[in-house]
Each structure stands twice: as structure tokens, then as C-alpha cells.
């Protein structure tokens, strides 16, 4: 089973990288981009076959290492 983890900055946390990307898009002529928020995407290949157990394990991985929950949110998607 695969787990796809998206890690994003919480609302209200300033994202200077996102702002820089937004400005760069603007200077390339891509108008109408109201905001850019940059995050991380992590793919895990898991031996676990039980979905509930896999979800639990990945939650713990996110809290323990993959995300810093002071400023980041995470979303987990499991794919068979």
C-alpha cells in the first residue's frame, strides 16, 4: 500500500517562498494568480495491508517527523 502525504503551511503562517513564486509567475506574464502556498509531497511505500493500521502509522510518522505541527498541516491519502 502507498501513502501520499501532503504537507502544507497552516493558514496565517507567512510563506515567503510562495510569495516569491507568485511574483515570478507574474513577471512571466501569468496574471490572475491570487496567492501561492508552497508545500511538500512525500510518498511512502508501506508493507502494511490493513488500511486503518496504515493510516494510524502514517499519522504517527507525520506527528513525529514528517511535519512540524507548530506551523504545518498534513493530509494523508492511502492508495492500494
Amino acid at each position: 500500500m502507498k501513502a501520499k502525504v501532503h504537507i502544507t503551511l497552516k493558514n496565517g503562517v507567512l510563506d515567503p517562498q510562495g510569495k516569491a513564486v507568485q511574483h515570478a509567475l507574474g513577471s512571466l506574464g501569468f496574471g490572475g494568480v491570487n496567492d501561492v502556498r508552497q508545500g511538500k509531497y512525500i510518498e511512502l511505500d508501506l508493507a502494511e495491508t490493513d488500511r486503518a493500521k496504515a493510516k494510524d502509522a502514517v499519522e504517527q510518522m507525520c506527528k513525529g517527523l514528517l511535519a512540524n505541527t507548530v506551523i504545518e498541516n498534513y493530509a494523508i491519502e492511502l492508495v492500494d
Partner: protein
Amino acid sequence: MKAAVIVFPGSNCDRDVAVALEASMGSKPLMVWHRDTVLPDLDLIVVPGGFSYGDYLRCGAMAAHSPIMREVKAKAEKGTRVLGICNGFQILTETGLLPGVLMRNRNLKFICKDVFLRVENADTDFTRKHTLGDVVRYPIAHAEGNYFVEPEAFRAMEGNGQVAFRYCSKTGDVSDAHNPNGALSNVAGIYNEAKTVLGLMPHPERLAEDLLGGSDGKTMFDSLVEALR
């Protein structure tokens, strides 16, 4: 006084801080590799600056889970003094020994220059040879020094004297014009609740003897020696 310096793959200020410690202590600190799991009885543990584990995932995130940090955390919880400088500060926030997080500098640049800091608490083992409001010059060299913590938590920290240093002008004016990286409330360094753990972005060890162009940083090491000898 007995001190140890933790060495991670990618640490690059470990020897500088060892030299500064030896000058104040009169003896060499123990250098401890990140794979070690046990520390002897110590008065001070230093988590030095650098780019531990190449800053993979987030600055300090990998180092925070290395074998030796479990022991550092256990010692810190028993009251052993811990000093985290620059990447060491990032590691201490990632381990949970200090609150908050160090985010990317607001101008997205790596900043390497001398800054002025105001001593916000002169009543700790790290600053006892200072007077409240002293202005010191320390170098900074980081891309992720933009301190952030939830506003409610920060108010409690301020009330508890946990703000150690603030970025300021040469004359001690704390304002946004003298904030190099966007840190919340110009915070350059913070203590844990008990003031036994200090993390700061600027490098006291890099200006700890006149040969380096200044010795403001020496006062911190002298304070520790006076408190812990």
C-alpha cells in the same frame, strides 16, 4: 565544570565552540558523536551550529531524532544545562525542548553579518555576568532564523522571562528596522520554562576572543563557568 559538544554529520561550529569553552573553562569539552547513546555526568551540553544531516526535510528535524538526542533530552529534563546555537537552536525546537519553530528568513536570503542583541534576561546561568539591557554584538549566519510561536504561547513565555535576546540597534533600540530575518517580536533567542535550556540563532562562539574581532560572546561562556563550576 564539565561540558560536552554534540557533533552531527554536517556540524561546522563544533570546534569553534569547543575552543571558546576551553578558553573559559580551562579544560577541553568532550566531543560526542551523534550515534553515541550515553553521556557521562555533565554540567553543560552544547548543540552546535552547522547543517546537520544537510538540513534534510526541515532544519534540525533529522538531528532531533538521532540516537544521542534522546540522551540529551533526558539530561535536559533532569536539569543539565543545554545551549543550542543556530542549527542547534533549530534542533532543540524540533526535539520539543524549546517551544516554537525557526522558519525561512522573510527575505529568503542566507544572512551572514554581525548583529546587535539586547539581553532580555540577565538572571540566568547563561547571562549572569551581563546586566539587563546590555547590548552585545554577535554574528549571525542562517537562512532559517525567523522565529515563530503561537501568539498565546508567546505571551506566556514573555511573562515567564523566556525571551533571552532580541535583535536591536547598536544603542539597544528594538524595532523592525533592526530585525534581520522577520522573527516574531525581534526574538533572537529563548529559554525553556526553567531557564536551563537556551537556544539562539546568533553565534557567541564566533566573537569570543579579540583575535576574532570582538569578545562579546565570551561573557556567555564565562557566565556558564561561574554558574556551573
